[in-house]
């Protein structure tokens, strides 16, 4: 088992490394790597000042969303769940949309974080009001929160003027901007420790994936573990969403495809979902900023349009069961 985990992880890490190396070299402006090594040149500014931080954000965001999706799928024992199923991300969107509606576009990020926090608190309170946290209540509470948030977003959107309406729609499509390195550092400081924490409990997630009583009879406090998974997945989702807006598809497709090919062991799934989710979003974002350059395509459109057919192919060639 250990050998399989290492082989898959090394393979996934190589894929990510290739994506991280090539993506910054691609773009609307031609670039000479030799030029970029000389301080003060324009090429250096484009490569290290603009493209690299954006590529790094895409990697962190993709990895975080894939791991969040994986966790939520495990918690509700449904491989169609994604980071947006359990409500936190629509809470973030509502926060951001409210900010834009009120004309405080600059505060969209922090407001998104507040919206996510509010939903997280509410869903937790409702789902853990019984004796122990039930995944089913979690799912119901999350889906209801989603519907309410989306209704509120539609309502605000219908009242917004033309300019703000456009900004709202654009935000809801999701996109990665050119961030400063401090933002990259901040996102890394949230995402990496949370993913590491989840990985440490990988064996326990396997037990929980087989059922709550199954896990409890093997020494795991299922209720507490469910809570941990929900909060950790929500923190990952919220951190990414308040920077990029909602980016669909990736959060369920990466863990789902991975399970199809590599099985259900979380010791393999968590690192590989992170690495491959990261590579996936780096590639999609590179396509988003280059295909119609200088126009940018919303990256959420690329993730679904580009990867949907790929997944359908994967479904056709399922390994023998």
């Amino acid at each position: 088992m250990a050998r399989r985990v290492i082989a898959w992880s090394v393979g996934s890490a190589l894929v990510l490394l290739i994506a991280l190396t090539l993506a910054p070299l691609v773009g609307s402006a031609p670039l000479s790597v030799r030029e970029a090594m000389i301080p003060g040149t324009q090429d250096r500014e484009i490569l290290f000042g603009l493209r690299l931080p954006r590529v790094l954000i895409a990697a962190l965001a993709g990895g975080a969303l894939a791991v969040a999706g994986l966790m939520f799928q495990t918690l509700v024992r449904d491989s169609l769940a994604d980071p947006y199923t359990l409500g936190v991300s629509s809470g973030a969107s509502l926060g951001a949309v409210t900010a834009i509606f009120l004309g405080w576009s600059g505060a969209a990020g922090p407001m998104a974080l507040m919206g996510a926090g509010a939903v997280l608190t509410a869903v937790m309170a409702i789902a853990s009001s019984g004796r122990r946290m039930s995944p089913f209540t979690l799912l119901l509470a999350g889906v209801t929160a989603n519907s309410m948030n989306i209704a509120a977003i539609l309502f605000l959107h219908s009242l917004a003027d033309y300019g703000r309406s456009f900004t709202i729609v654009r935000w809801l499509m999701g996109g990665i901007e050119h961030p400063p390195y401090s933002t990259v550092g901040l996102l890394a400081a949230v995402v990496l420790p949370v993913v590491a924490l989840l990985f440490r409990r990988a064996r326990d997630w396997n037990l929980l994936a087989a059922g709550e009583e199954w896990a409890e009879a093997r020494g795991v406090a299922a209720g507490r573990l469910t809570k941990l998974g929900y909060v950790a997945g929500s923190v990952l989702t919220a951190a990414v969403t308040c920077l990029t807006g909602p980016i669909g598809f990736l959060g369920w497709i990466v863990p789902h495809a991975l399970r199809l090919r590599a099985g259900a062991d979380h010791r393999l799934l968590i690192p590989c979902a992170f690495l491959l989710g990261a590579a996936f979003l780096v590639v999609c974002d590179t396509a988003a900023r280059t295909l119609l350059a200088p126009e940018e395509i919303p990256v959420g459109a690329i993730t679904a349009l580009g990867a949907g057919p790929f997944f359908l192919l994967l479904l056709r060639h399922r390994p023998e069961e």
Binding site: S79, A210, E216, G219
Partner: protein
């Protein structure tokens, strides 16, 4: 030796009383069959012993310590529980499911060679090593039960608590499973199995506990516990149909 001591245990689900004032003492070396009609409280009793019911009236002690005071992990090394059915949604292989029985003993991220060897031995014993690498979800009901039973054996606990361990097995495997459980009991472990297979229980168990509407109706060696009068009162059928053969 492992000892369970239950005094006047009542378990409620909402307003329904699944167990009513049940008092029992169970010891290592016994193979206890828990029988009774549907809804008699068999599963509740088995899961209570496994520490999965933490709210009840009365007292349930394992080795002199209240079951609720046992740390979960320590308890799972003392008592292995397998549920009536395991419904997996994810592609774990049969070997991975059986290996989960080693979780209470594991410390690191990966199983040790010893864990792997014990799991393989348990799978040989329940005759499921042949399909170790198959997706658990694609197995038949009986094959699944044998894999889950292997997980319980690999757990290497002093008490083995089973909820209808043989309900989907073919006759050959039913007998084999009961024999291997009986052998475990002879070796000093406590085996408790909720079952509807009265004939097999009467043959292989050392003791039968008859439950009806949450109460212990009879408790003793199979011949006494399943004597015709009790039998027809509890099961509301003619015992001749079931046990006569």
């Amino acid at each position: 030796m492992i000892v369970y001591r239950l005094r006047a245990v009542t378990v409620r689900y909402g307003k329904t009383e699944a167990l009513r004032a049940a008092s029992l003492e169970l010891r290592g070396g016994e193979f206890v069959g828990i029988v009774g009609p549907n809804g008699a409280g068999k599963s509740t009793l088995v899961s209570l012993l496994a520490g999965l019911r933490r709210e009840f009236d009365g007292s349930c002690e394992l080795d002199g310590r209240p079951i609720g005071d046992w740390p979960r992990r320590e308890l799972s090394r003392a008592a292995a529980h397998i549920p009536q059915s395991v419904d997996l949604r994810f592609p774990f292989t049969a070997a991975e499911v059986a290996m989960m029985g080693r979780a209470p003993h594991a410390s690191g991220m990966f199983e040790s060679p010893d864990d792997a060897a014990r799991t393989r031995a348990a799978m040989e014993e329940t005759d499921c090593a042949r399909f170790a690498s198959r997706d658990f979800r694609t197995l038949s009901g009986g094959e699944k039960q044998r894999v889950v039973l292997a997980a319980a054996l690999a757990q290497d606990a002093r008490a083995i608590l089973l909820d209808e361990p043989a309900s989907s097995l073919d006759p050959k495997h039913q007998v084999a499973v009961h024999e291997l459980l009986a052998a475990r009991a002879r070796a000093g472990r406590l085996v408790v199995a909720a079952t509807h297979d009265l004939r097999l229980a009467a043959r292989t168990c050392t003791r039968i506990v008859v439950l009806r509407e949450g109460r212990v109706e009879a408790d003793g060696p199979p011949r006494e516990a399943l004597e015709p009068a009790t039998f027809s009162r509890v099961f509301e059928v003619d015992p001749g149909i079931w046990l006569g053969a």
